[in-house]
């Protein structure tokens, strides 16, 4: 481990910290129900939901490395495509 003088770090070093390990529950997107509206992506306080293209439609995809499991996406989803499930630690 490197312990710098004055706890100085360079930009982007924090990417090493996968802060999603806080989460005890996580959203699960049902891609069949998802209408690709992007509402969840707009509301996500961690900015870790993005829309990805699958065949002809867009669906929401969660970056679990940073998702804290707050559940806002589940609350705002107009298509009720996002459920909150217990996180299974492998």
């Amino acid at each position: 481990m490197r312990i710098s003088l004055g706890a100085v770090s360079r930009p982007l070093e924090s990417l090493k910290f996968k802060t999603g390990d806080w989460a005890t529950r996580i959203p699960n997107v049902d891609e069949d129900k998802c209408i690709g509206c992007g509402e969840c992506s707009m509301y996500c306080p961690e900015g870790c939901i993005e829309l990805v293209r699958i065949d002809i439609k867009k669906v929401a995809r969660v970056d679990y490395d940073y998702c804290k499991g707050c559940g806002i996406c589940n609350y705002v989803c107009p298509a009720e495509a996002i459920s909150i499930v217990e996180k299974v630690i492998k």
Partner: protein, 380 residues
């Protein structure tokens, strides 16, 4: 060049000779005139390539200096009492970020009740902060300590706080043998930190440290502070060779009974020790604490008498706590007298009376408030 000046000027003039890049402060009695003097020098164009920034609080002043110091600027501020504790949050960060900011603290009591007068409560509250703390006896010492402080701080990368007694030193006129520019220039190298913030090299100082690494940062900081003792001794020795010997981390005269104090009170304590043929110990550096020196000097003596001007409410005098801890397992009886809180006068005969009480075995080892008046406790 010997000039009769006030303590304020002795500080400001020495700071000017060290060519600081950024000065930032907020006025507070009894510190204000230090930065007023510097502001005047700045207005007169005597402080070349220096920015003098006025702040709207001590918290802001310290914050500006954290930013400035991180870019590799030599920085200065002065404060005391409520101002110092308002700065505290920022100063602890500066310590963790290892920024060598120089702070002159003109010791003043803490509220409540409100007091602008002198004791050591304010700086001693910050003893655990990771800031080097030195206490001076007179204005000549503070004047000469400032270039040394910059040299030490910039080598060991810790904030450095010079504590001088408010009013007793700051407002006192004394003939001061002022340093000259050439001398300071040859003694104090330019500040060139190993790491600094520039627009081309963005950095985070004091970044987030989760439990898996926080402890290592603090351990390194503690070790570096202990190692700073050697650097301090070396700089003091260098100064002693080229200018004047002020002692090391402590200054002392051995004896069976040793009187201990810090700050301007040391002058009276030395006088009393001289007259009664006793030893004395002046603690110059309180952090890092001169543990080895204290054990060596006091380990075999009979009585240790401490004059404390700060109390840890609910325990005892602050210096006493640390000295007793250093003496654990040694034999001397430790007597502590808490005197001079909130600027209460400490005349020489009070010190003599305390010492006589100990020598005549009228008191047992422990702590006592001296100089208290009789009073009646009422609601209002």
């Amino acid at each position: 060049m010997i000039k009769v000046v006030r303590g304020f000027y002795a500080v400001a003039y020495a700071v000017k000779l060290c060519k600081p890049d950024v000065i930032c402060a907020y006025p507070i009695t009894p510190q204000t005139e230090i930065v007023e003097n510097l502001a005047e020098m700045y207005a007169n164009g005597e402080l070349e390539r220096c920015s003098y920034i006025t702040a709207e609080s001590e918290f802001e002043a310290a914050s500006i200096l954290v930013g400035a110091s991180a870019t590799g600027a030599r920085t200065f501020t002065a404060t005391c009492s409520q101002g110092l504790i308002l700065m505290a949050e920022v100063l602890l960060n500066a310590a963790g970020m290892r920024l060598p900011i120089l702070i002159v603290n003109t010791n003043r009591a803490l509220s409540a009740p409100l007091s602008i007068w002198n004791d050591l409560q304010d700086s001693l509250l910050l003893r655990d902060a990771g800031i080097i703390q030195m206490y001076v006896e007179n204005n000549q010492e503070v004047h000469e300590l400032i270039p040394q402080a910059y040299k030490i701080a910039e080598k060991v990368m810790f904030p450095f706080m010079i504590c001088m007694d408010g009013f007793k030193l700051t407002h006192a006129y004394e003939p001061i043998d002022l340093l000259d520019q050439e001398f300071v220039d040859s003694f104090l190298p330019e500040y060139d930190p190993p790491i600094k913030l520039t627009t081309k090299n963005p950095l985070t100082f004091g970044s987030y440290a989760p439990p898996h690494c926080y402890m290592e940062f603090r351990y390194r900081m503690h070790n570096d502070m202990l190692k700073a003792k050697k650097v301090m001794e070396d700089v003091f020795k260098e100064w002693a060779e080229i200018r004047r010997d002020w002692g090391g981390l402590v200054e002392y005269k051995e004896g069976k009974t040793v009187l201990i104090s810090m700050g301007s009170l040391v002058e009276i304590v030395k006088d009393v020790a001289e007259e009664l043929n006793l030893g004395y110990l002046k603690i110059r550096a309180f952090r890092p604490f001169p543990y080895d020196e204290i054990r060596r000097i006091l380990g075999d003596c009979e009585n240790v008498i401490i004059f404390d001007r700060a109390i840890s409410v609910g325990y005892e005098g602050v210096i006493t706590i640390d000295v007793k801890n250093a003496l654990y397992g040694c034999s001397p009886d430790v007597y502590s007298f808490i005197v001079g809180l909130g600027g209460r006068d400490v005349p020489k005969d009070l010190i003599v009376r305390c010492v006589e009480k100990v020598l005549d075995r009228k008191v047992k080892p422990g702590y006592y408030f001296e100089g208290l008046k009789e009073f009646e406790e009422v609601i209002y």
